[in-house]
Symmetry: C2
Subunit: 360 residues, 2 copies
């Protein structure tokens, strides 16, 4: 199937990924980092979409800290389609803004929304769901991709499908309900039930459908966005700076998905998805050596097991240590127990309180 000229991709790339500190910084956050190979997460995102979305139809929303880096990493995406949000207003205004722009360019536009900081190890399998998702969106539906849950994760929202569904079908299924991040007991129930899928933030819709939903459920934001001039107008940037900060900060899940009635989804089968939520998640994803260590760069290990060491440009010598995350950068060195990898973001909060801006 050749790429449909009305299909567009919106890549959301405004996140910080503080749990990947000290590699991840304001101006060098998770999506522009290389974790496995020689391409950054956002480069891999563009790469894997290429069979269905040529770079000319990719749009990217990021922030002022990151824009220059992303422009440099993605020379194939037109410079003018890599936009910095004037303010952080969560996903609903950002997606609404992109829909507004695309609608003005192509009234038949169908857009897919893609996170920029996830890994997908089976891209062909993944595209086998992206294609029917675009198709269902073209027919006027709001479409989500659900990920079959592999453990009772309490950090994700869930999509509830009807009971008895099967994974991997290529026909859209009516979504019963969106469920916010559950507690562990509820998450365990979800996983056992078989009809609850992780909401990984991958959405598809006609821009006209999304804008109509915003008018209905987020009238203030919809009105503000509607007041913007055409994207080609030279006043666009100035007006956006004035308007955007007044939009309500709310997620697209809460603003639209949980309220709309025409939502369908795909209960996908495994395409090797991971949101790589922490250094430990990355450790789990990468290939291990015989002592369960993962080394990026050169290492000398003696009685050392289960460690992740990332200190490119220098030798890391490990002696009798176990299950550590070691990440070295020119101005900061992190040593953490792997079981505490989720708390790395707290260290960054502490640095923020201490106003250590050079380390953020």
């Amino acid at each position: 199937m050749s790429a449909n000229p009305h299909h567009y991709g919106l890549i959301l790339a405004g996140g910080r990924g503080t749990r990947f500190w000290p590699r991840s910084r304001r101006a060098y956050s998770k999506q522009v980092l290389r974790f496995g190979g020689d391409r950054s997460l956002i480069q891999e995102t563009v790469d894997r979409l290429r069979p269905v979305l040529p770079p000319e139809r990719i749009w990217i929303l990021t922030n002022d800290h990151l824009r220059a880096k992303i422009v440099k990493q993605l020379p194939e995406v037109p410079n003018s389609q890599i936009l910095a949000e004037p303010a952080q207003r969560n996903t609903a205004p950002a997606i609404g803004l992109a829909a507004h722009i695309l609608q003005s360019i192509d009234p038949d536009a169908v857009m897919g929304v893609f996170p920029s900081d996830h890994m997908i190890s089976k891209p062909a399998k993944y595209l086998s769901f992206v294609r029917p998702a675009f198709k269902a969106a073209s027919a006027g539906k709001i479409v989500v991709l659900g990920i079959a849950p592999r453990w009772p994760e309490t950090g994700y929202g869930y999509i509830e499908f009807p009971q008895g569904i099967k994974s991997g079908g290529k026909q859209p299924i009516a979504v019963r309900q969106f469920r916010e991040k559950p507690d562990l007991k509820t998450a365990t129930h979800y996983v056992r039930s078989g009809n609850f899928y992780w909401n990984a933030g991958m959405f598809f819709w006609k821009t006209s459908v999304l804008l109509e939903a915003l008018r209905q459920f987020q009238p203030k934001t919809a009105t503000l966005l509607a007041s913007l001039p055409a994207f080609s107008n030279r006043q666009f940037g100035r007006k956006l700076k004035q308007t955007f900060p007044n939009c309500e900060s709310v997620s697209i899940d809460y603003a639209v998905l949980e309220k709309a009635s025409n939502v369908v989804g795909f209960a996908t089968s495994d395409f090797g998805w991971s949101d790589v939520g922490s250094w430990n998640a990355l450790y789990e994803l990468l290939p291990h050596d015989a002592n369960a260590n993962v080394f990026r760069g050169e290492a000398l290990a003696q009685s050392a097991t289960g460690n992740y060491a990332d200190a490119e440009g220098k030798l890391v010598a490990l002696l009798g240590v176990k299950d550590l995350i070691i990440v070295d950068t020119p101005d900061a060195l992190l040593i953490a127990d792997r079981s505490r990898a989720q708390e790395v973001g707290d260290l960054v909060k502490t640095l923020e309180r201490q106003k250590r801006v050079n380390l953020l």
Copy 2:
């Protein structure tokens, strides 16, 4: 008591201190490192001797890798008195060489031999033993300082005094016997006995007495050294390069102390001596924070206890880690369990086998 003009100090500074890798390198080894304050161990050695030995009467034996660094660190010691041994031949030839030189300068010379890589936290107390040691040496004795053992160390030699002696006396005591490094059972017996003291490598003798002892017990080395021209002779350096490598590689303990009959010692009381044998020994010596951590440079610690972190110039962030040695340098980073600190030297041996000369 003013400094006696016939008293000289020989500081032995040829060691490598591989257990302090990656800070310690061939050209930057333990004795030239700063561990606590702002003076290196060899600078502290010269400093603490100053009340009894002015720098003009300090001589230093080191190697070609280190000489330039030591010259730089000790501008007060005459350049010509900082010598590089042409080859590593253990302590007997080195001490014999120094005695030969001093004897040619001052036939009444009395020399003290001092390691350059130990710490002494109570220098005044220490000098209260150095002074009578010089005095006993002036009277023709071979003199050693014994350190009251604080645990059954198996890595040191022991000095056996007669039973019933008391620590801290300022009168020399005849030494019964020198004991080589014991096994743990023997060391435990030594510590309980009360008359066994650690041999910390601090010796005093007239140069004439030492040279006579060498002639008696190490005739080959004595003959080789006697063949050297006077130190002031411009052929001295060239001849030394030819001669020294032919000396027998043997310790002064084995060559002289264990064999001589005129050996006396001081059973010293605590002057805060430590040979700082490993990163863990250093950790134990330095002041700890409320969570038993020792940080050199800036740190951010969350649920971290008992760690030693030395990464000057960058922030070290610790999260949920315990009892680690962390030492960061521009080309190598060491992470070791504190209980394994003795094995750091093995890592260096591995690097030697791998011919990683830039890391040695």
